[in-house]
């Protein structure tokens, strides 16, 4: 066990999988000579060479599709999107090709590929560079979507994603790359599709994932000071979704708050809120609450951009609502 940063954990996963399997290649903008826009791939070009760590031009649709073709033909590419915002240029490749090839070929092809990069708001980046886009990708059957919140989960889920025979959207967070945590050395796999109880509690279930997990845990500390004992379910995988862990928790606490930094309309958060409202109807003592990003493009001004996102105050308020406290 080592205490390392999120980016080091992701790098360890890439390094170990590239060492294990020569079908694994990394391609994207600035992944090689520049060592990665966020330094996740630092040192990999030197270690594995330009045949396996490929700097691409700024051509998201092109290199995303190239990764898909290489995957169909037998490689296991990891495509780095400098940010998920730029993946919008490549969405047709992901949705029309990666997600559909298996189905429309009657199961003849698989597309073992990972698309990864930072997702969600960071700071001071304005509307086009501060989007939480998971709900778009989670909409489509044929894709897996994962969103780890800790360095250990990041390493274990990235290794699982690279070994998966399906296209996986792997969501990181710019604000979390420097976050430190204990990470198992060597072989550490977190299976896709399993949620994790990040804190056990009995009074209320808070369902969240990715970067907001930290904020939720901070909010839970202040709630604990008021005698409220919250359970925190980290989804980790959005597709497939571990509904059972969520429902079991709600059956225990009878109250549920969803915290999701994406916008609320037709989002992962609103979908999970509907699932819980439906599946746990008899268990619930209060309507499910959703704490989401505001339904606005992200502004540049810092006070406004913070107001556009979930906050400890919003989370505490939602918890008190479901507790009628």
């Amino acid at each position: 066990m080592s205490v390392i940063t999120f980016r080091e954990a992701l790098r360890a996963a890439l390094d170990e999988e590239m060492a294990r399997d020569d079908a694994v290649i990394l391609l994207g903008e600035e992944v090689g000579q520049y060592n990665g826009a966020y330094k996740v791939s630092q040192g990999l070009l030197e270690k594995y060479g330009p045949e396996r760590v490929m700097d691409t031009p700024i051509s998201e649709e092109g290199f995303t599709g190239i990764g898909i073709g290489a995957a169909m033909a037998g490689l296991r590419p990891v495509v780095e999107w400098m940010t998920l915002n730029f993946s919008l240029q490549a969405m047709d490749q992901v949705i029309s090709n990666a997600a559909k090839m298996r189905y429309m070929s009657g199961g003849q092809f698989s597309v073992p590929i990972v698309f990864r990069g930072p997702n969600g708001p960071a700071e001071f980046l304005g509307a086009q560079h501060s989007q939480a886009l998971q709900s778009l990708y989670a909409h489509f059957p044929g894709l897996k979507v994962v969103a780890p919140s800790t360095p250990a989960d990041g390493k274990g889920l990235l290794k699982a994603s690279i070994r998966d025979d399906n296209p996986v959207i792997f969501l990181e967070s710019e604000m979390s790359y420097g976050m430190k945590g204990e990470v198992p050395d060597g072989e550490h796999i977190v299976p896709i599709g399993l949620a994790d109880i990040k804190r056990a509690g009995k009074d209320v279930t808070i369902v969240t994932y990715s970067k907001p997990v930290r904020m939720v845990l901070d909010a839970v500390e202040s709630l604990a000071a008021e005698g409220i004992d919250a359970e925190v379910v980290d989804l980790r995988s959005l597709r497939p979704l571990d509904e059972k862990t969520v429902y079991d928790s709600v059956a225990k606490t009878n109250r549920c708050v969803i915290v999701d930094e994406s916008m609320p309309f037709a989002s992962v958060g609103s979908h999970v809120a509907w699932l819980v409202s439906h599946a746990c109807f008899d268990d619930l003592d209060a309507p499910v609450q959703l704490v989401s990003g505001e339904d606005v493009p992200m502004p540049y001004n810092h006070a406004l951009e913070l107001a556009a996102q979930p906050s400890i105050a919003k989370i505490v308020d939602a918890v008190k609502r479901v507790l009628y406290a």
Binding site: I25, E51, M54, T56, P57, S59, E61, G62, F63, T64, G65, I66, G67, I68, G69, A70, A71, M72, A73, G74, L75, P77, D92, Q93, S96, N97, M101, R102, Y103, M104, S105, G106, G107, Q108, F109, S110, P112, P141, G142, K144, D165, N166
Partner: protein
């Protein structure tokens, strides 16, 4: 037709190319008939008139090692790759015995074993995919060359331009084939292209290219074989513009009113089947009787394919949820 080896001037091979083109012609006519009877639904893009392009090009590569990645006008490529007409017709009928289990349809013929990577429905979106298959071939140094098919309608998509740039900088073994049938759906390519010589577009990425007469199957075969040789020996992608013509509308719903009857008739006089038939007759390797027998056999194959499709089962309700994930 089995994956052809390069052996120009071989009478048996020339006959085989004619037979494959004739099979495609009869298959497409049968598909049109079945569409009219509502046995086939949705979009159905026929290859009639363009047979020499697919047959000539695919005969020039070895599908044990090489690949073909195409767009949605894919019936001809599939038959040229040697896929079973029965399973293709069953796919058009949406049956469980179809090549894609009835879940792909006309635009999504695939055959992994024959390196036939679609059958892709979004205009131009297969071009990066084909380029990625070539990346695999280069990475594995397996000697494979990829035929990447698209039409004159797709050449203005960003996917084409992004792919050519990367294929050139990475020296990928891919032949980009613009099958110019002169109409992107209903739009004459001259109305929407800044250049009418598409080879210029390859040149702008430093990629060598040439124009190919798409009405003569032997010329297509020769030029694609040379291009494949150039890809292998010079470590460069190659661009080919195959000039061709489709006799039918863009799809079954298109009456093709954007062109004159005279234009269509002028192309029918240089029909790829007639050209190849005349060549073989002049060489004394084909008689009218032999051609008639060949035609009868192709029609019988298509009739059998329809019978097979008719008698095949529908996909089970469970199939709805199958083959989404590996």
């Amino acid at each position: 037709m089995a994956s052809g080896k390069k052996s120009g001037g071989d009478a048996e091979l020339e006959l085989e190319l004619l037979r494959t083109m004739l099979l495609i012609r009869r298959f497409e006519e049968k598909a049109a008939q079945m569409y009219g009877l509502k046995k086939i639904g949705g979009f159905c893009h026929l290859y009639i008139g363009q047979e020499a392009a697919g047959v000539g090009a695919i005969s020039a590569i070895d599908l044990g090692r090489d690949y073909t990645v195409g767009a949605y006008r894919d019936h001809g490529y599939a038959l040229a790759c040697g896929m079973d007409p029965k399973a293709l017709m069953a796919e058009l009928f949406g049956k469980a015995t179809g090549v894609s289990k009835g879940k792909g349809g006309s635009m999504h013929f695939f055959d992994a074993a024959r390196h036939m990577f679609g059958g892709n429905g979004i205009v131009g979106a297969q071009i990066p995919v084909a380029t990625g298959v070539a990346l695999k071939a280069r990475y594995r140094k397996d000697g494979g060359v990829v035929l990447c098919w698209f039409g004159d309608g797709a050449i203005h998509q960003g996917s084409f331009h992004e792919s050519l740039n990367m294929a050139k900088i990475w020296k990928l073994p891919v032949i980009y084939i613009c099958e110019n049938n002169q109409y992107g759906m209903g739009t004459d390519f001259r109305r929407v292209s800044s250049v009418t010589d598409f080879v210029v577009m390859g040149h702008s990425y430093g990629i060598p290219g040439r124009v190919v007469n798409g009405m003569d199957v032997m010329e297509v075969r020769r030029d694609v074989a040379e291009a494949a040789q150039q890809v292998r020996t010079e470590a460069t992608p190659v661009f080919l513009e195959i000039k061709t013509y489709r006799y039918r509308g863009h799809s079954m719903s298109d009456p093709a009113k954007y062109r004159t009857p005279e234009e269509l008739e002028s192309y029918k006089k240089q029909d790829p089947l007639l050209i190849q038939k005349a060549r073989l007759e002049e060489a004394g390797t084909l008689t009218d009787e032999q051609y008639a027998a060949m035609d009868t056999a192709c029609k019988a194959t298509c009739d059998e394919a329809v019978k097979f499709a008719e008698e095949s089962p529908e996909p089970s309700p469970e199939a709805l949820y199958e083959d989404i994930l590996a």
